[in-house]
């Protein structure tokens, strides 16, 4: 019985210890709660917010690009996309099959959709097809009962109303590349589907057009599904850009080329504002913005007419006879010839044993500098170049902007080439040959210029020797222009020659003459050889340019300005393998200048 008592006491004692121990352990729980919920609360509050808040960028609308009159050249258009939400359809494949009956999908598209579906959670809408027309949207909505899980989504895509006509100025936007992301740190670049300027004005004014991103704070659950919006900070829309272009002239210029390949620039001779800037053929920027297949891309690259090349800036051509103004000015300014100096053209001349021909085999007879320009007599300019020397010619050419980049900001501009004796020594380690001076006198040989340089040169001749610089930006005030220090009388002589080219009988661009309320054009044609017609071809009867394959035909050049007595616009036209400056390039230049005059009712004399 004693032991029984002990047994009971033992139980009571040990039970008390157990109870105390257990309550103590529960106080450990309380201590732990204090540690986590008071001591470490801030840390876990942050982690909890990181868990639930997902910040998304709001893409600002891209700035609109306008022409000088407020016509939209690049804008944002509502884009309808068909999307599929996997969790909203009982069978994704069936829905896709039903969709295909309404709108065919290519195999590549279908593969992409399946890849995207696999990659994303089932509530994420996956793009099936974008850029749907109104009619297509209607067709999908009409069939909605058969298309569970298909939704129509609206977004903004870049749209170029003038398409190919403005392609080489405006450029296009496209998906962000790895290099783009490495170059700058704007978080917008990481947004799926975001597009940035890849060429032209879109690239040049990328920062301005893009705007600033906004922020959208969303509450998401553990699966990433959006539960509600917490905060929205709107971004700043991209700024507009106003260009100097005139959409009507731009269109006209593009249309004038028809099937021809080449480039044309028309600019204001005082402000330098470019009103038309075309390179043909062009690509469709709307297509590039949507993304072209690699096959289409290769085709664009392989095309021998080079639609991707901006020929206004990147095309380097011999200026041919349009260079003769520079030679004439170099000679007149240096005193190598006087306005009265005459040369005799017998159709050819000799330098040592080598014969140099005039384009007109029978010869022009006696000519002064004005007549030399009017008839584009090669002999006159061979002799003049011989008198003045290559270095003075080169110097004059550079003063008119040839052989150097104009730097209007667009990419891939080429500098062209104005050779002189130093250059020859540097480049080939050989002294300059007199024969090369002769060839340079008619704008052939090593000389290379771009169409925009020719337009600049023409504007500087037309405006009386002011160093005007071309620009694509609309300017409201007239820039302070630097005088080039060229005698007004000499410039007048050159301009008279250019007037006669168009307006006098026997002028090489006589066919392109116009008289619009007394406003007339002055200009200069050029035809530059791409390849000589060989003796063998002469024998087989191929002597005409039209009979040669396209890529062997001569380039056609024309530069001009109008009105003659009160110059306002200068133009440069280059038609690749256009055969003849007077027959092909001059009519385009003439029509473009005439159109500019017609459109410009405000043309007023400049004081």
């Amino acid at each position: 019985m004693n032991r029984d008592n002990d047994k009971g006491k033992m139980l009571i004692g040990r039970s008390l210890i157990l109870a105390a121990g257990q309550v103590l352990l529960l106080f450990v729980i309380i201590a732990r709660l204090y540690y986590l919920q008071v001591y470490q609360a801030d840390k876990y509050k942050t982690l909890s917010d990181e868990n639930r808040i997902s910040t998304r960028l709001l893409v600002p609308p891209r700035g609109v690009i306008y022409d000088r009159h407020g016509e939209m050249l690049a804008t944002n258009r509502q884009n309808f996309q068909a999307m599929i939400v996997a969790e909203q359809t009982p069978n994704v494949q069936e829905t896709l099959d039903a969709f295909k009956k309404i709108m065919p999908l290519s195999e590549a598209e279908e593969e992409q959709i399946k890849k995207d579906l696999k990659k994303n959670r089932s509530f994420v809408p996956i793009k099936i097809k974008d850029n749907l027309s109104w009619e297509e949207v209607a067709r999908i909505q009409l069939n909605a009962p058969d298309l569970p899980g298909i939704i129509i989504d609206e977004g903004l895509t870049r749209y170029y109303p003038y398409g190919e006509k403005t392609a080489h100025v405006i450029g296009y936007v496209s998906s962000v590349s790895e290099q783009d992301i490495r170059r700058e740190s704007d978080p917008l670049l990481e947004v799926p589907g975001f597009k940035i300027g890849k060429a032209g004005i879109e690239k040049l004014y990328e920062k301005k057009l893009r705007g600033k991103s906004g922020n959208l704070k969303l509450e998401v659950n553990a699966f990433g599904r959006v539960m509600k919006e917490i905060e929205r900070v709107d971004g700043i829309p991209g700024e507009k850009v106003e260009l100097s272009l005139d959409a009507r002239l731009q269109s006209k210029a593009y249309d004038l080329f028809g099937e021809e390949t080449g480039a044309a620039v028309l600019l204001d001779v005082y402000s330098g504002e470019i009103l038309a800037f075309v390179s043909t053929p062009a690509y469709d920027p709307n297509l590039l913005t949507q993304g072209v297949s690699s096959k289409e891309w290769i085709e664009l690259n392989k095309n021998e007419h080079k639609p991707l090349m901006n020929k206004v800036l990147s095309g380097q051509y011999s200026p041919g006879s349009t260079f003769k103004m520079v030679v004439a000015l170099a000679a007149l300014e240096s005193g190598a010839i006087s306005p009265q100096t005459r040369s005799f053209c017998a159709g050819r001349m000799f330098l040592g044993n080598h014969a140099f021909h005039c384009w007109k085999r029978p010869g022009h007879g006696y000519l002064d500098v004005v007549q030399g320009l009017q008839h584009s007599c090669d002999i006159f300019f061979y002799e003049t170049a011989q008198k003045v020397g290559i270095n003075k010619i080169a110097e004059m050419a550079r003063r008119f902007g040839l052989g150097q980049k104009v730097n209007i900001g667009l990419e891939n501009e080429k500098a062209g080439l104005i050779p002189d004796s130093d250059w020859k020594r540097r480049r080939f380690g050989e002294p300059w040959q007199l024969g090369e001076t002769l060839i340079s006198g008619i704008g052939q040989g090593y000389i290379l210029t771009t169409p925009i340089q020719l337009a600049t040169m023409t504007a500087r001749i037309a405006n009386g020797g002011y160093r005007v610089k071309p620009t694509l930006v609309k300017t409201t005030e007239k820039p302070e222009l630097e005088k080039m220090n060229i005698s007004a009388a000499n410039l007048a002589l050159v301009r008279e020659g250019m007037f006669n080219v168009v307006n006098a009988p026997g002028g090489t661009a006589r066919g392109s003459y116009f008289d619009f309320h007394g406003m007339k054009m002055a200009g200069k044609t050029g035809t530059t050889q791409v390849r000589r017609i060989t003796m063998k071809e002469r024998q087989t009867g191929i002597v005409r340019q039209e009979d040669l394959p396209w890529k062997y035909r001569n380039h056609a050049v024309f530069v001009g300005y109008a009105p003659y007595d009160n110059p306002r616009y200068a133009v440069a036209v280059l038609v690749e393998h256009g055969r003849s400056g007077s027959a092909v390039a001059a009519p385009i230049g003439s029509k473009l200048l005439l159109e500019a005059l017609k459109l410009d009712a405000t043309a007023k004399p400049v004081e």
Binding site: R3, D4, D6, K7, G8, M10, L11, I12, R14, S15, L16, I17, L18, A19, Q22, V23, L25, L26, V28, I29, I30, R32, L33, Y34, L36, Q37, V38, Q40, A41, K43, Y44, K45, L47, S48, D49, N51, R52, E219, V220, N221, A222, F223, M227
Partner: protein, 379 residues
């Protein structure tokens, strides 16, 4: 002559009315407070809806409450009389589950009764306590202090613990072992024997480690370093701590726990319901729940201590310990103090069997208290 199925009684039984009047109403209130908190949290877990958990839980609690009252009205002597029978019956059920589990697919822990799934391992927690209480009731302290005297009670513990372990249900097996350990301690087994067992456990740890299933090993490793696999096994613990910590002192408010409602918190209606409660009601709410549980424990021990019969005392201590283990393991687990072992928080977590078994335990504890003045003979 000792017959294990028979006991003799010295005192008369109480009438039903007397028994009902002897119910401890404060104790009942604590239980109801915990259960209401449970229903409230389940309502929140379903984003403010009675479906699918809260209403079910309420009904189960009502059933459990009825079971508790019925059990409380039973004389303690009957628990003692049928302790072994109940134990063997439960052991048989455990065998059945074990066998069918091997025949069927993977781990199966329950017998489907149609209206509910019966988990024999839950029943075993009570059956083992009663069997041990009866055994120690009938033996002497000398016997308890010998090694031979511990053979039978050890078998009573180890056979079901082994069966449960192989189900595999490590959490329940550990609870059986700990409960039994506490009872062995309470009846006066010398401390050095616990030391030997502890030493043996440490020595056999590497062998035991290899016997653990991969997922069990993972849980331990993940507990030791939750960042080891933040999206896999460690995810539970990390998210639980974030939910708790971010709740702060006052919580995020009812139905406003972002971690739970945005599904970052797993198992929020079962094992991790305490986390959700702590997120929404903060440290204040969490400590309140702990304190009510402490009160339940303190009352249970008080009942045990003022009871005359050895069997009643020990049964109450064992059942209280069992309840304590539920609460302690669950809370320590969601607070990142021990590995995730899958033990629910009784009365609050969603689940039918646990409510019934815990309510039945409370019934027995109440019955012990009601019959506190009735002595029970040795055999």
């Amino acid at each position: 002559m000792y017959k294990f199925y028979e006991t003799s009684f010295k005192s008369q039984s109480l009438t039903l009315k007397e028994k009902f009047q002897s119910l401890n109403f404060a104790y009942l209130m604590f239980i109801m407070i915990l259960a209401s908190i449970g229903v409230t949290m389940l309502y929140s877990a379903a984003n403010g809806s009675w479906q699918p958990w809260a209403l079910n839980q309420l009904l189960r609690f009502c059933l459990g409450f009825a079971v508790m009252l019925v059990v409380a009205m039973i004389d303690v002597k009957y628990f003692m009389r049928y302790a072994y029978l109940f134990y063997f019956a439960t052991l048989v059920l455990l065998f059945i589950v074990e066998v069918s589990g091997h025949v069927g697919m993977g781990a199966q822990r329950w017998i489907n009764l149609g209206f509910m799934k019966l988990q024999p391992s839950e029943l075993m927690k009570i059956a083992m306590v009663l069997a041990l209480a009866r055994y120690f009731h009938g033996t002497s302290l000398q016997n308890i202090e010998t090694v031979r005297g511990l053979v039978t009670p050890l078998l009573i513990v180890l056979i079901p613990a082994f069966l449960v372990m192989t189900q595999p249900d490590l959490g329940t097996a550990l609870m059986l072992l700990f409960t039994a350990g506490a009872m062995f301690f309470a009846v006066g087994v010398q401390l050095w024997k616990f030391g030997v067992v502890l030493l043996g456990a440490i020595v056999s740890m590497p062998i035991a480690w290899n016997l653990l299933h991969d997922y069990q090993q993972n849980r331990v490793l993940t507990f030791l370093d939750p960042e080891r696999d933040p999206l896999g096994a460690g995810y539970h613990i990390i998210q639980s701590k974030i939910a708790l910590g971010s709740g702060g002192v006052f919580g995020k408010g009812f139905l406003k726990g972002t971690q739970s409602h945005l599904n970052f918190l797993p198992e929020k209606h079962t094992d991790f319901i305490f986390t959700m409660l702590s997120e929404e009601f903060g440290m204040i709410g969490a400590i309140f729940v702990v304190v009510v549980n402490i009160l339940v424990l303190v009352y249970s021990y008080a009942f045990a201590l003022r009871t005359t019969s050895y069997f009643g005392k020990l049964a109450a201590v064992g059942l209280a310990t069992n309840y304590f283990l539920y609460v302690m393991i669950n809370m320590a687990m969601v607070l990142g103090l021990i590995p995730v072992v899958g033990v629910p928080l009784p009365l609050i977590s969603y689940g039918g069997t646990v409510i019934l078994s815990v309510m039945a335990s409370f019934g027995i504890i109440l019955s012990v208290n009601i019959n506190r003045n009735i002595n029970i003979g040795k055999d």
